[in-house]
Symmetry: C2
DNA sequence: TGGCTTTACGGTTTTCGTAATCATT
DNA sequence: AATGATTACGAAAACCGTAAAGCCA
């Protein structure tokens, strides 16, 4: 008699996700179950453990100190469980959902390969890429996503950021405008409106600091959160815009956009992409997906032509 | 959908015990459940893992290679589960059964203190001491017991044996015989029958090799597995016997037995006690009990008088 | 009020023990 | 025959979702 307490792996998984997401509702969503069922699981676990794991005094449930100490052990157990499954069925047995943030650029250049590789190596993993330009890193920190493929860094010590690749930014305009501008300088920026990304997008920040550093001023006419929209508006000839080189490559080859040379002393800094994940996220499944995404993203966005020269295939019209 | 496989801690505990005991029946007994229920748990676990964990071709189920790889992970998970419980309720929360082998001598000198200490530190641990003189180490190797407090060593590499204490053996006889013998030598052994423990008991082995080494012969008249019985027969004056010093102390103080001096060149070797446990038994609960038993046994059997001298409180009668 | 958590309740699924069956020595 | 593992089945317990109720901003 009097054997092991009846702690369940399901309970521990509920604890894990409730803690990392900071909310029972989100955890229930992630675990594909009802808030009510999840709440009962947590309550039951607390009764088994004999101490409250969450502080419900606020509007959202916050993890207690005892809970904090337990979470790492719970995560280790869940990982061991996955390892057991792998020992029996092979690595292909990894099963579950991996949610990650990715910029539009990376989505265009690398997502297809990521998804394909994951499907091949781990057919039972379900991917949930969230394509966005904003808050990708914050989503990782909040636990919303398992990792992010995004430019820029964060100073948060809870985050690991691993360098992936450097992306060139290019000023582009429609072919109609091209003969009127020819090159980016103070005068051109004065004359033609700039179609930019949202203020919080990394490329916009970069553009602003570049402009400030060079004493340039420009008028912004649109701030969309979608690079596709910015590109479309630029194609329509409404203004010039600063976009990632790999992103505009396709439109340049079709002749819808032209790349504007920059005067040498106005060289635009480049955008550094990183793979971001929470240090405490050492679960097997997201780790496996990260390992797949890392080399693909590092490689796919490299300039495909030689020696970092600007792409030399502008169809010389006009 | 498609989340973690439904592996259960109960299933893993069933695997753990079935493997270490090498039998579903014994494991079911230890887990206080039916063979049938345990069999179903294992079957279910195998279906989750996707590979057979036991080979049922023989009469008893034997662990497969896959099973072997999984067991250590399962044990780690069970330990983490205990640690979680401890993090919530404190070390006192350790709950379960610890079964160990112990010799009669250690049972008399130390068991009470072991049980008392365990009850004080871990009120929910149930102890099952198996008092016996035989096969204590084999029981550990088979997984029947979690550890053993026993003399002698084993060469089995699966076993860890840690030195505890050295026990002196004394020749004793009844007070009626004492004036006729006075000292142990070849003549005395020729004349008086020896009441000994079973042939497989450590003290008997020691006695035989001692006799051989010294070219002595004696006639054995009883071979009991109970030192209590040997002592009783000796008290009754049926012969002389060789018993552990701490064991006969009580009977010496009551005057029921007398200790026979040994001639210096016939010094009896001493009996070395060890704490034996299986290397792969790293579960928290038996470890906690081992840590308690170790110092108690190492201390309690030490000679309580100074300088290894024979105890000097023989009531000098007749 | 609105988002989030807990409680109440009914129906489904899982789990367990008894007893019978199968297999190996 | 005897020991040990599996199957059948009925009862008990656990689990989940819907719906209603509390609770904090």
């Amino acid at each position: 008699m009097g054997n092991r307490a009846n702690i369940t792996l399901k309970q521990l998984e509920a604890l894990y996700w409730s803690a990392t997401l900071g909310s029972f509702a989100l955890a229930a969503d992630r675990l594909a179950m009802t808030q009510s069922a999840l709440s009962k699981r947590i309550l039951e676990l607390e009764s088994e453990i004999g101490a409250p794991l969450f502080d419900r005094s606020g509007s959202r449930a916050r993890v207690t100190e005892v809970g904090e100490r337990i979470i790492s052990k719970a995560a280790a157990m869940l990982n061991l469980c996955d390892e057991i499954l792998i020992a029996g069925r092979g690595a292909q047995a990894l099963r579950g959902v991996c949610r990650f943030g990715i910029t539009q650029l990376m989505a265009i250049t690398s997502l297809q390969e990521i998804v394909g590789t994951v499907r091949r190596l781990y057919p039972d993993i379900v991917l949930e890429p969230r394509v966005d330009a904003l808050d990708l890193i914050e989503d990782v920190l909040r636990g919303e996503t398992d990792f992010a493929l995004a430019p820029g860094t964060s100073l948060d010590p809870a985050l690991t950021s691993e360098y992936l690749t450097r992306i060139e930014l290019s000023w582009v305009c429609s072919p109609q405008l091209f003969p009127l501008i020819k090159t980016i300088n103070a005068e051109a920026l004065q004359r033609y409106p700039v179609i930019s990304m949202s203020a919080r997008a990394a490329s916009t920040n970069l553009m602003n600091s570049w402009a400030t550093a060079n004493g340039l001023k420009f008028k912004e006419i649109v701030a969309s959160n979608s690079p596709e929209a910015v590109a479309a508006l630029t194609v329509a000839g409404l203004g010039i815009s600063l976009l990632a080189r790999p992103f505009v490559e396709r439109l340049v080859t079709t002749g819808e956009l032209r790349i504007l040379p920059t005067e040498p002393d106005l060289m635009m800094p480049e955008l550094d992409y990183f793979l971001h994940w929470r240090k405490d996220n050492d679960r097997l499944l997201p780790k496996a997906v990260r390992e797949i995404a890392r080399p693909i993203c590092a490689r796919a966005a490299q300039p495909k032509t030689d020696a970092g020269q600007p792409i030399a295939l502008l169809p010389s019209d006009g």
